[in-house]
Amino acid sequence: MNPRLDAPYGSLIDRNQPRSFTFEGETVNGYLGDTVASALIANNHWLLSRSFKYHRPRGPLSMAGHDANTLVQTASAPNRLAEELPIDLGEAVSGQNYVGSLKRDWLRALDWLGRFLPVGFYYRAFYKPFGVWRLWEPMIRHMAGLGVANLESQPPYRDKQYLFCDVAVIGAGPAGLSAALEAANGGAQVLLVDENTQLGGALTYHRFDTDVESSTTLLSSLHQQVLGHQHIRVLSSALCNAWFTDHYLPVLQGDRMFKVRAETCILATGSTEQHVVFRNNDLPGIVLCSALDRIIRHYAIAPEGDVAVLAGNDLAYHTALQAHDAGLSVTAVIDLRPSPDDETLCEALATRNIRLETGATVSEALADRDGLRLGNIMVSHLAADGSVAGERCRIACATLAMSAGFMPAYQLACQAGASLSYDDASAHFKISGLAEGLFLAGSVNSVHTLEAVCADGRNAARAALTALGHNADTPETVSCTARVNHPWPIFKHPKGREFVDFDEDLQIKDIVNAARQGYRDIQLVKRFSTVGMGPSQGRHSALPTARLIAKATQRSVTETGVTTARPPVKPELLGLIAGRGFDPHRHTPMHEQHLALGAHMIPAGTWRRPGFYGDPVHRERWIREEALAVRNNVGIIDVSTLGGIELRGPDAAEFMNRLYTFGFLKQPVGRTRYAVLTNEHGVVIDDGVAARLADDHFYVTATTTGVDRVYRDMLKWQAQWRLSLDISNVTAAFAAVNVAGPNARRVLEAAGCDIDLSAEAFPYLDYQEAAIADIPVRMLRVGFVGELGYELHVPSMMAHRLWEIVMAAGAPWGIRPFGVETQRLLRLEKGHIIVGQDTDGMSHPGEVHLAWAVNRKKPFFVGCRSVDIVMQQPLSRLLIGFSLSPDAPRPKEGHLVLKDGDIVGNVTSCEYSPNLDRVIGLAYAHPDDAAPGSIIDVRTDNGVVVQAIVTTLPFYDPDNERQTL
């Protein structure tokens, strides 16, 4: 390992704690605080990966995790940024996207074949003739693939948490720190978010002046004040990856996603340094100026060999000075401009014996002998129009730091609806049209000198405080005339390979060709060329692309624009978005008892219900046995999931009458009525049983999955009608069981039910209140399954005891618990429909034989007018019963009913009935075929058409004698 620079260089590493890891099978040494990338370059290893398309060698570009050059593979996951992976990760690391070895990738030949692979080539070349893409695709994906997913890897526990604040400050550079302090001092609760481990942004690595002291002092002062402030919460190593409406910010930190809800938001997201576009500008060793700054200041690394700097602005000179002062061998500064804006910089270089080449550019980078690292640069003259005018000299260097300028990190602001404009003359950016409560500070606001950046931060905080209703000082005047962007840092080379987009291996000609193909719109250029689609999302490619397209189409950069900024800003783990899975599910009070009885639980809406009792392997047998027990003896089913709604008050009957189709005003107390609900379209949407408990009190059931909607609809109507009643959803307050079968009465008598259960005293469809033991029971003599039956509704927390008592009392008869699957069969035998299964979004009462339940003498019910209209029209379909021999192919729900080959309806329910030894079902059929004995065609699996016989409903006990016993 090469020795590191002495402190204070190396602010992120701890020299007392050596660490190591393996890269490509070799041990790499470094220190705690190093990343995989920094440890590798400290060991003079710059080759980290192979590029996506041409398999070119790549090394770090930004050292900030802002490019895709450093994507590496670890044992657990692919595509991890080496600048973000800590050295003590504990996993072996390797490069990506190569065949053979990283240094000798067999597919590097693709680089030479590149001219045969122009942009859009895949779409045009591999899709014809039709179907041939299927052959090419696996090969192309293999060659252009990235890492390998580890399918065995177990994701860690990831979760989410809300965070609330008055001001969220995104970015903790000098602007963000100043803004956070000002806002907190003004009385706001501040959340400060930064993606780096260290606060300070550019202050931690850049030297803003020839005098290095001032920035260091400022940093430590801001640091101290912020960390000690009781109103500031700091989240470092945390990425704010999106802006959503009303300042809802997902902030990713470790294995958690914070859902930040801020009242106001200050974006101090800084700016992204831009690269210069010249031939072979992707060679390992060519980095952004800020990357070299970080390498020196954060990691105390002095790269081996000579260093050159390619400057499009004055800031790059500071990089050269800093590198020299740290002891690096800086040979030359090449300035794209005729001279620096600050003339003293020339002197500073001269005193350090650093050669200055102005009015020149690097026109080509040349690799060293292995072809894996920068060896030389070719410096060329620039003509007055900015084009390359001829070679000037060749300079040997292993590292080249470049800066063409700075583009605001506009992503979050533009996600919030702002627009980015660019002044072609001054090469200045401007972000305008900010959402309410959103403010910019610092270099994202195109303010670049240190004092101005801090003042801009304070001003943003003052604006936020004012928006929050706090008092704030009047804003300071901020002026910044520094020019940081070079207008045309793009230098075409006859042999190409001037990379605009490193992620996607796109060169100048690829972008220009897109315009030649007729794609003028930047969005179309993106989709055609894939520019900006890589992991760095156009951070470095958007500006040169906009410039090239603007030039090619004779427009300004503002007119060309950049592509729409959408979340996420950086690639993120789906596991963080998923977090913990919340899957609410309901249990009835008898849940434990069902499990003890061996119930096979199935989902029913959000509920878990017994489907039947017994192992699912013998499903048919359990259902048959349970069904026979109900028909011939007695069974009990938990129907607690049924919805329950109470209507109480003088207008309870009036309200029932307006909601449901039947008449309820004259329903006697102590009686139940079937209640059908239609919506305003006249479609049947729910049904239930309404019991009148008192003149002013109805208890009405609703379907398990429909009750929430029914209750909401009722509340909404009541908000308009203003009747005198109270509406309560009492589903959770009451649990219920249905005891059904010829022996049901005897079992309930044995259970000690304190009322006369005889048919005379308690006839079919009556309601009574009783007690079993000391449990108050609302008893409804109704039966979905068509046997003598009692529905017992009890306060929820007493239901487990009711179950125990009834089961014990029924033991001498062999009472059998039955599940919802059995119940569905039993009700089908009786031809009772299930709303939602046997009805759909078009079913009106006439189609499902419920015309009898519609009272058309009353003035109004919801949907009455629609019901009138549709029921006057000729029926187009009718729900009918059908039966089949048990050995015929069995239709399933949804299978089509045909008439003369045309679709006329579908099967809605179909089961084998052990009681009848027939397959029975319900289906919509043509009204002409509705007469019992008619034959309908049902198309089953694989197109097999079976002839089913239309059968009178109900299939079982046609005279309904059993339920009235």
């Binding site: 948490q161 809300y162 919340f582 609410p584 309901r586 109480r648 008192a694 309560s728 959770a732």
Partner: protein, 199 residues
């Protein structure tokens, strides 16, 4: 002092006429959080325009602002969920034998069945707001949700009423939620509590 989270051994509950999901359970992250089931304690609700006056006639406080809770005696509270819906909480008594009333106590005051429809849990400890921030989108920190405040909101995707009040002299959140979701909600809370109990 924080300790590893643990579940107190469940004393074999007496054979009670009522049984609640998770009843008699207490979950602790010592020094940081305690989640206890209070479902056996008495609670009743009334809804209707005449309720506020009726409450005053009973000697109970008038809570005019919706979503507030006020003490009505030692371990007793009145909670206002709207201008016409009020819950009475009684930490002194259990309510096991009573038949839930359904008849109006006064013409426009209808009893609600909250004793049977909702479980009642209590969450105390310094980290209670931080814990709830993992499950609920409403800021329940002391500064904006002080003692006396009530929030009708969602927790882990289910509806919940959160009431901030003292219980036996210690501030905490009472949570009221649909009893059928109790097993689900308890496990969601337990899961969220894990990180608060690290040694």
């Amino acid at each position: 002092m924080r300790g590893r989270p643990y579940e107190l051994p469940i004393a074999q509950p007496p054979r009670l006429p009522c049984r609640y999901p998770c009843s008699h359970r207490v979950r602790c992250a010592p020094g940081s959080l305690t989640l206890s089931d209070l479902s056996l304690q008495r609670r009743s609700g009334l809804r209707g325009s005449d309720v506020p006056d009726w409450l005053v006639q009973q000697g109970l406080p008038r809570v005019d602002t919706p979503n507030r809770i006020e003490a009505a005696g030692e371990q007793q509270w009145v909670m206002a969920l709207s201008k016409r819906e009020f819950w009475m909480l009684d930490g002194n008594q259990t309510a096991l034998e009573e038949r839930p009333a359904s008849v109006a106590v006064t013409p426009n005051a209808w009893p609600l069945y909250c004793q049977h429809s909702h479980v009642w849990w209590h969450l105390s400890g310094d980290d209670r707001a931080a814990l709830m921030a993992k499950l609920c989108g409403v800021d329940l920190s002391e500064a904006v949700f002080p003692v006396g405040h009530v929030a009708q909101t969602q927790m882990a995707r289910i509806s919940v009423i959160v009431a901030h009040h003292d219980w036996q002299g210690v501030a905490g959140f009472s949570l009221f939620l649909d009893q059928s979701l109790a097993a689900y909600a308890w496990s969601a809370l337990e899961d969220a509590m894990q990180e608060f109990g690290a040694c």
